[in-house]
């Protein structure tokens, strides 16, 4: 059962192309997005199309199950499948929310200064949530403490007080597309930077910062 699902992607001419994904491929891309999000230290690009399509798929499955014969073996198997998919989707969205709450000043700052055409790391609904979270927290701190403090101390710069994501943390990855000449920066003063090639199918433990763009492009998969 192949359905035309429609994550509309913009290509560089500004036209949109429809990508036809089988349900199996859709779930696979959900799982990949989920694992990447779990293991990346920073908030990754928003994958709203995948989320929307998966929700649609779950609705279809629910419909089919309602119409199916009771006691059919397939019903329980499909129900299990639905629970599994719902778990992965919920976990993915929870992971994103957690990161949004953890790094909210930095994420919102990035949104403000993002250029036209740069892919957003927040879906529109996540952006609303993030802004509300920030406003809520700022208002609380101001009313409970800051406004009772001496005038020159009432402003707290959240960008400085809230920690940034640690992009130097190490991640495991598997290479999907061969990459050449990846520059690895030195960690200490004694080391020098060097260049590596990433063979398809190989697995590595490497600093996130070095391969962050490859995660975004889909060339590597975090595991």
């Amino acid at each position: 059962m192949t359905e035309e699902l429609d994550p509309t992607a913009q290509d560089s001419d500004g036209g949109s192309e429809e990508v036809v994904l089988t349900p199996a491929e859709l779930i696979e891309s959900l799982e990949q997005a989920w694992m990447n999000e779990k293991f990346a230290p920073e908030l990754l690009e928003s994958k709203s199309e995948i989320v929307e399509c998966v929700m649609e798929q779950l609705d279809h499955m629910e419909e089919n199950l309602r119409r199916a014969k009771k006691g059919d073996l397939k019903v329980s198997i499909h129900r299990m499948e639905m629970e599994r998919i719902r778990y992965v989707l919920s976990s993915y969205l929870r992971c994103r929310l957690m990161k949004i709450e953890k790094f909210f000043p930095h994420i919102l700052e990035k949104e403000k200064t993002a250029h036209e055409g740069e892919l957003s790391s927040l879906s529109p609904e996540e952006l609303v949530f993030a802004k509300q979270y920030m406003a809520n927290t700022e208002t609380y701190l101001k009313n409970v403490a800051l406004k009772h403090m001496p005038p020159n101390l009432q402003m707290v710069d959240l960008l400085r007080s809230v920690p940034k994501p640690d992009l130097d943390s190490y991640v495991f990855l598997r290479v999907k597309e061969r990459q050449e000449n990846i520059l690895v920066e030195p960690e200490t003063d004694e080391q020098r930077d060097y260049v590596i090639d990433l063979e398809e199918g190989s697995q590595h433990l490497i600093r996130y910062k070095t391969i962050a763009p490859l995660v975004a492009s889909g060339a590597v998969q975090l595991i």
């Binding site: 949530f129 609380y140 409970v144």
Partner: protein, 179 residues
Amino acid sequence: MFCEKAMELVRELHRAPEGQLPAFNEDGLRQVLEEMKALYEQNQSDVNEVKSGGQSDLIPTIKFRHCSLLRNRRCTVAYLYDRLLRIRALRWEYGSILPNALRFHMSAEEMEWFNHYKKSLATYMRSLGGDGGLDITQDMKPPKSLYIEKAECIKDCKGSAKTMGADLKDLSLDKEGII
């Protein structure tokens, strides 16, 4: 010594294991704010003296008080913010209605923050997908199998059952399977 009370607030939270929310220390907070007011006023008068009289040996004291003020602020904000994080975790642990015991430990403003957070989260969850949205506070653990039974195939089920995205199951005669 200055900032003692502020340090006590921080220590109080540090001692409470993760997830636990001790009672809101309104008294402690008030004392820190009073100390800050006193330090600031002392500094104000000293700064005026320096400006008019030129007594520059007051400057180290002024700097010291300023550092204490900054430390007090940092400890206070850390105390309040950490409590917010604990309260946030309560929404995910207990749902929208908090047990009374915990509510008594929260200040009125914390309750307000919690209510706003709840509402914001609900709005976000409703916006997911098509109609009803998705409650992502459910499904916190990977699903266990629906039944854990051994089923023996007494009839050849002609091949396999297809599931979306998962492996095809082989339901041939006499094979025992866990469903």
